[in-house]
């Protein structure tokens, strides 16, 4: 919990509602495994964390219908503050 969360104004409940909705709807639209998006987000985060510094709370995954109407576009937003100083590739 950061300073703003402790002493600043609480987030609007409508903002929280929108974030939560976007996530569940993304999961709903994948008609395969419900946990797929959650697992994918964590896997992507694990890789990206080697190169960028970001907060998991700011990560947003969404699914959009493509122009052709038949396929989907997966959009992963990882807003980062800065690049990690010494990226190292493990494994």
């Amino acid at each position: 919990m950061n300073f703003m969360q402790l002493f600043g104004r609480k987030s609007k409940s409508s903002t929280i509602a929108k974030q939560r909705l976007k996530l569940v709807i993304t999961q709903d639209r994948f008609d395969v495994d419900e946990q797929l998006v959650t697992r994918l987000t964590h896997d992507l985060a694990e890789v990206l964390a080697k190169y960028f510094e970001f907060s998991m709370n700011s990560v947003q995954m969404s699914l959009k219908k493509a122009q052709d109407g038949n396929s989907y576009i997966l959009v992963a937003d990882f807003p980062y503050k800065k690049a990690t100083k010494h990226p190292s590739i493990k494994g």
């Binding site: 609007k12 409508s14 903002t15 509602a17 929108k18 909705l21 709807i25 709903d28 639209r29």
Partner: protein, 264 residues
Amino acid sequence: MGKVIVVTSGKGGVGKTTSTANLGTALALIGKTVAVVDADVGLRNLDVVMGLESRIIYTSMDVIEKQCELQKALVRDRRVEGLMLLAASQKNDKDDIQPEQMKSICQRLTVNYDFVLVDSPAGIERGFQNAAAGAEEAIIVTTPDVSAIRDADRIIGLLQNARVEPINLVLNRFSPDLVKSGNMLDKSDVLDILNIELLGIIPEDEAVIASTNRGIPLVHSTSSSAAQAYMRIARRLSGQQIPIPDLHAKNFFSGIMEWFSRKR
């Protein structure tokens, strides 16, 4: 030939039946011929919301079982020219009707009526599938809360797969005051999530409850803001270009004005 529009939502209690009753009446008030069809077999309510419950003799089930002619099963709303109700059977359940049978009824109604509005039951099962079977277009009714929007998104996906087009949104029970205080999703948030066209916004309005109590659809009087919103939607459905006004939160002066104008 008229067109068949299914009024649906996924979640229950968001205003499908109220919207069907009011849009049907509003379309008739602006001179269209309308048949409203209750597709909620076993849990019918469109008849009571419209105040026609004492006049139901036949239902869509009787038509399907060839107990009566379609035209004879329709109940005429005597308060407005050109408005008919086809009630659902209360004794049967949703599995007693096939989607093809509902489709056939809807198609036959389009011969004589400009608009056939089908009031869908909640859920995504057979009742919904029956309601949507004959629909070319859909109206999704949702309130600005997470459960209703999530369910609406599911329904939109199912309708898109069934090639129902266009699918338009009615945002119901909208409160500009709550949006202003940050406790309700705004119009733009809902549209951003659901990604369909907005047909209209119905403000939260106490007059809806009184209207349901009396069995007189709101639009018979244009004094309430919800009735005015339904009238605008009906005009848009009939092809008129009517802008969607922004609803504003109450301020000190509008609060006083409302206090004085309220019926006591």
